[in-house]
Structures are given as C-alpha cells and as structure tokens.
C-alpha cells in the first residue's frame, strides 16, 4: 500500500485534494505541509473514524451513488418490483389479457382452491421438490467427494461432470427425449434384450413424464451443486481426517462423522436453492412432454399452469396472477425454512 501511496504522493498538489485523509499511514506522514493529516494521524482511531465520515471517501454529492445505481434501480423497479406489485393487484381482479379488470376480492384464490387443475399442478410441483431435493443434496456431495482428490486425470472428470450444466434446458430436454422416447435408446435396448415387451411410456404417461423430467433435472443439477460442495470440502481441515484415521476410523465412518457435519451449512444452502428451482420447473416438462404438459395436462407444474392460464387470446391475467402469488408463497415458505434451519444450525 505504501508503494502506491508514495507513487501517488509527489504528484498530488499540496492543498486542494478533495479527500485528503489517508490518516495514519506512514506515507501520509512523509508528506509535509499537511497539518490536517498529521493531526489526524496523531489522534487515534476515533478521530480517524470521524474524519472519514466527514471528509473521507464519501461521494461528492448525495446523488452520486444514485447516478451509479440508476440503470440498475430503474430495471429492478420496472421488471421486478412493479411486476410483483402488479401481480398482487391483478390477483384481486378479473382482468383478462385484452382488458383491465374490476376488483373481485379473493374470488381468484377461492377459484384456485376449488380447481382440480390447480391441485394437480401444485401437487406435481411439491412432488417434484420432495423427490429432487434429497437427490440434489446428497448425490452431488458424493460426486464432489469422488472428484476431490487430486489423482491423474481428475480434471477431465470434473469438466465432464459439469458439461450438462452448460447445456441449455432445451438441449438437455432434446437429448433426453432421444434417450427416453418409445423408439429411443433405452426402450430399443430393453426391447432387444427382451427386458420389456412393450416400450416403457417415459414421455406419454403423466407420472412417468414427471419422473423423466425429475431424472433430467437431477442429471443437470449434479455438476452444478458438485462445484458448491467442492468449495465447501476445500475448507474441511485435513487434520480432522488425519486424526480420525489415526483413531482407526475407516473411510465410510470418516465420511459420515467428519465430512457431513463439516459441509452441513452447504447442504442446507444446496437444499434451499434446489427446492426453489424445483418449484420453478417448466422447460424440462415442456420439451419432454410437449405443450399440453403430458396427457390431459397431468404433468403440469405451477409455472406451466400459470403460463397456460395467463397468456393467449383468452388469457386470464387475474386468475394467473393469483396462481403466481401462490407459487411465490410456496417458494417463500421453502426459502424461509432453509434460512430457519441454517440459523438453528449456527447456534
């Protein structure tokens, strides 16, 4: 730091620097003719803090930070805060896509709770979460442990495991469609080996379609969360493992009694993140099962339903907004749950 200060020092004109404070630094004292700064250096930390608040690195005028933040704030207001407020408002109206609505109270919510289609979609979303989250909490951890050690060629494996993350949801959907179709790889091989007599309806049966989409989500998420766990594993002190090994703990034992407790905060984070993204699933089902979301819409998730209800010429924006709010509340529950769990863990 002093190198930088000294380099800067000589060039600086003596009197009129706006932020002449660098208090306490050696370089500051080497510069003469700066009574204010020398005083500051002498006065200790409290005075120094006060100086900084006064003349320190504050912005020239109160609006400067807003100027820097303006583009971001405008965008956030326009495409995040306003849409959210608007969704809340619309959810209490009977608005349609081509006309505004009138206030209808909780009618849209009442309609949702009486709508079997809503319960199917909400049930699918929650089922998705319940199945996918444990897979994405534990499997990437196992994968991270597997690729953590530096053995020859491990870099290739790490990159390979990350490849599905880079692929777009559409590409991944198409790739798996070609594996799971009735004339796809799995069914062809199974038929040839006479494991099955008829193709398994991976993509044409609602439940199977949902399961297939879950497989795709887990497959795509493995590498993503593996990187999270690699970061967490890097922070586990090696001495813990050494001590346990000397005490005679085997690899399995060490995994459960050392690794798992050490990466528990990361497991909670991964659990929360994967829960929220499980509730948001759309593209996998759309690509694998088509626009209707499985036969009779039986594999629709909440985002799927929101899009179908809310858009198009007959789009019921009011009702779709109520569904959106319900989706939001659902994600809120799970993120608060995650936060609660990790708070409890810290104490």
């Amino acid at each position: 730091m002093s190198a930088v200060d000294e380099a800067a020092g000589p060039k600086t004109p003596g009197s009129k620097t706006p932020g002449s404070k660098t208090p306490g630094s050696k370089a500051a004292e080497s510069e003469n003719g700066r009574a204010a700064r020398r005083e500051a250096a002498g006065r200790g930390r409290r005075a120094r803090a006060a100086m900084e608040a006064d003349t320190g690195l504050v912005h020239r005028s109160w609006w400067t930070p807003y100027l820097f933040l303006a583009p971001g704030l405008v965008m956030v207001c326009l495409f995040s805060i306003w849409p959210f407020a608007n969704t809340v408002i619309l959810s209490f109206t009977d608005a349609r896509i081509l006309r505004g609505g009138t206030f209808v109270g909780f009618a849209n919510y009442a309609r949702a709770f009486a709508d079997p289609g809503f319960w199917v979609a909400a049930g699918n979303s929650v089922l998705y979460l319940v199945v996918v989250v444990p897979c994405l909490v534990f499997l990437p951890l196992a994968l991270a442990v597997l690729v953590q050690t530096k053995i020859p060629g491990i870099g290739i494996f790490r990159s390979a495991f990350y490849t599905p993350v880079i692929a777009s949801a559409v590409v991944v959907g198409l790739i798996w469609q070609w594996v799971l179709r009735s004339d796809g790889l799995v069914n062809t091989v199974f038929l040839k080996l006479s494991i099955v007599s008829e193709p398994i309806p991976f993509l044409t049966d609602s439940t199977m379609l949902l399961v297939s989409a879950m497989i795709v989500t887990v497959w795509k998420g493995l590498g993503y969360y593996m990187v999270f766990y690699l970061a967490a594993l890097g922070n586990v002190p090696a001495s813990l493992h050494e001590a346990a090994a000397i005490d005679g703990a085997g690899t399995v034992r060490r995994f459960f009694s050392i690794t798992v407790p050490q990466v528990k905060p990361m497991m909670l984070l991964v659990g929360t993140l994967s829960a929220i993204s499980a509730l948001r699933v759309f593209t996998e089902i759309y690509i694998l099962g088509g626009e209707s979301g499985g036969p009779g819409g039986g594999a629709r998730t909440l985002p799927f339903l929101i899009r179908q209800v809310g858009l198009g010429f007959a789009g019921e924006t009011g009702y779709a907004s109520a569904l959106s709010i319900l989706l939001f509340l659902l994600t809120l529950v799970f993120s608060l749950l995650g936060r609660r769990l990790s708070k409890g863990d810290e104490t």
Binding site: P18, G19, T22, L174
Partner: protein
C-alpha cells in the same frame, strides 16, 4: 463410498496391508468415476453420434455410425433458419453482456465503497427482489413489456434481464476486496468519481467482470421461457425457440437433423467452457455463496 483423503494426497502412514488397500481404493475410485462419466456424458454422446449418422444407415445399427458424416448439420442449416435464430440470439446476448457488465459494475461500485444515506435500504431492497421467482412475475412482466410496445422484439427479450441483481452483487463483492489505499491514492491524484470507477476499480475486478460477461452470455443463449412468452413471429425466434420448433416440426421428423441442431447449439457453449473453465467455477461459487 469413498471418503476424501486429505488434500495433498498425503494419506496417514499405514502398514503394508494398508498400502494394498489403498491401491484397491484407487481402482474403486476410478471405476466409480468411469461409471459416472458414462451417466453424465452418455446421453450427450448418443445425441452426437446420432447427429453424424449417414442418411441411409439405421439409427440403431450398432453404437458407432458406419458412415459418419457432417451432412446432417448442412441439411439442418439449409432446411431450417437455425443460423438466423443464432443471429437473433447473438444480438440479445451482445446487448445482455454489455448492459450487465457496465450497469452491474456501476451499481456494485455504488454499493461497495463509501457509505451514503440510504445505502442499506437500497441494498436490502435489491436483495429482496431476488426472492421473487421469475415465474411468479412473468405474467405481469409480459404486460409491462407489452405496454412498452416491445412484444415480439429482441429488445423485449433482452430488456428485463438487462441488469441482473445477482451480477450487481458479484461486482459489489469484487469491489469490496479492492484495498482502500488504492482508492485513496487515486483521490490524491485528483481523480473524480467516474475516473476512479473506470480507471481504478474496473481494471481491478477483471475476474468478476469475466464472470458477469460469461453468465449473462450464457443466460441469453440458454433462456427459453421468457423468449417463448415474448416472441410470436418465427422470424424473431432465438436459437432455443428455434430448436423447440425444429423438434416439433412434423416436416422434419428425422432425429439426425434434430440431433444436429441440438449439437450445434451445445458445441459453442462447450468450447467456451473449455476455454474459460476457471471463470465458470468461480462464478458459481461467488454468485451463490457470497450474496
């Protein structure tokens, strides 16, 4: 199944039988790795092999194509405007990368350095917006974009993602790491706020900038749901929408062509990934953990 051995590859000293176990452990590890390799890359490789299969051979004639060819890539580009779709995607991606790097850096700068009245409020507000899942505001977002007359335009595809809050947070944590002395030196030099931002802070956050570039490029390249809502005219389609159309087109109905299209969308990303690996991994960690 296998626990991590301590980093640095130094296993605690063991007697001879222990060494034998270590070798079997290593073999087991490689076996598990190879199994996972098949699971993770198998479907992709299968799609790739399909994409280079000759026109006359059966898709299931053995694992490897007997008449490998790139003909399918040519045919899909000729019969389907995938190149145009890729062009549209690149327009959106270029806009997204420029706006995100510049505006996220500016925002992150204002949030990271000197304290100012209201900083905490603004910061909390921004973090709070991360709680709204896109899917729960997309209908209203669509209405807003329609109000602006941007439905069915590439600008409409780009605009809502022009500055992502997550990117602002990435830039903020990068700027927080810049030593105070550097900034002070610049102040002594008489550099004004904008100069300090552009000449001192931006160059010192190159890594984070690369991450923002990369994630916003990938976001624009991979996004599907929002373009699906906004775009109606197929002339404006992005690559992902085009791929979906290609897969659904009854006129195509040739898996070799669909596979070629999917691979054409995937391969540029894979190359980008291989070239910039370190930034990819950095981005994942920073974006998620530090905010």
């Amino acid at each position: 199944m296998s626990a991590p051995s301590p980093p640095g590859g130094r296993e605690p000293r063991r007697s001879r039988p222990g060494r034998g176990r270590r070798w079997t452990g290593l073999a087991g590890r490689y076996a598990a790795l190879l199994l996972m390799l098949v699971v993770m890359l198998g479907p992709i490789v299968w799609q790739f092999l399909t994409s280079i299969r000759g026109r006359t051979e059966n898709v299931y004639d053995g694992m490897l194509p007997s008449q490998p060819t790139l003909d399918n890539y040519v045919r899909v580009a000729e019969s389907f405007p995938l190149l145009q779709y890729a062009g549209n995607t690149l327009v959106v991606a270029a806009l997204a990368v420029s706006s995100n790097t510049l505006f996220a850096a500016m925002g992150g700068y204002a949030l990271s350095r000197a304290a100012w009245k209201g900083r905490k409020v603004v910061f909390t507000l921004l973090v709070a917006t991360l709680m709204f899942p896109f899917e729960s505001v997309m209908i209203s977002m669509f209405l807003t974009v329609r109000e602006m007359g941007l439905v069915d335009t590439l600008i409409g595809v780009w605009l809502p993602g022009a500055v992502s809050v997550l990117n602002v947070m990435i830039m903020r944590s990068a700027f927080l790491a810049v030593p105070r002395e550097v900034e002070e030196a610049a102040v002594l030099d008489g550099a004004n706020e904008w100069t300090r931002f552009a000449r001192v802070f931006l160059p010192s956050a190159k890594g984070a900038l690369a991450v923002v570039c990369l994630t916003s490029f990938m976001g624009a390249w991979d996004d599907f749901l929002w373009p699906l809502l906004v775009l109606t005219d197929s002339d404006n389609y992005t690559l992902q929408l085009g791929l979906k159309t290609l897969a659904g087109a009854t006129t195509v109905n040739d898996q070799r062509l669909i596979a070629a299209g999917a691979m054409a969308a995937l391969i540029p990303m894979v190359l980008l990934f291989l070239a910039l690996q370190r930034f990819f991994f950095k981005g994942v960690g920073e974006g998620a953990v530090k905010t």
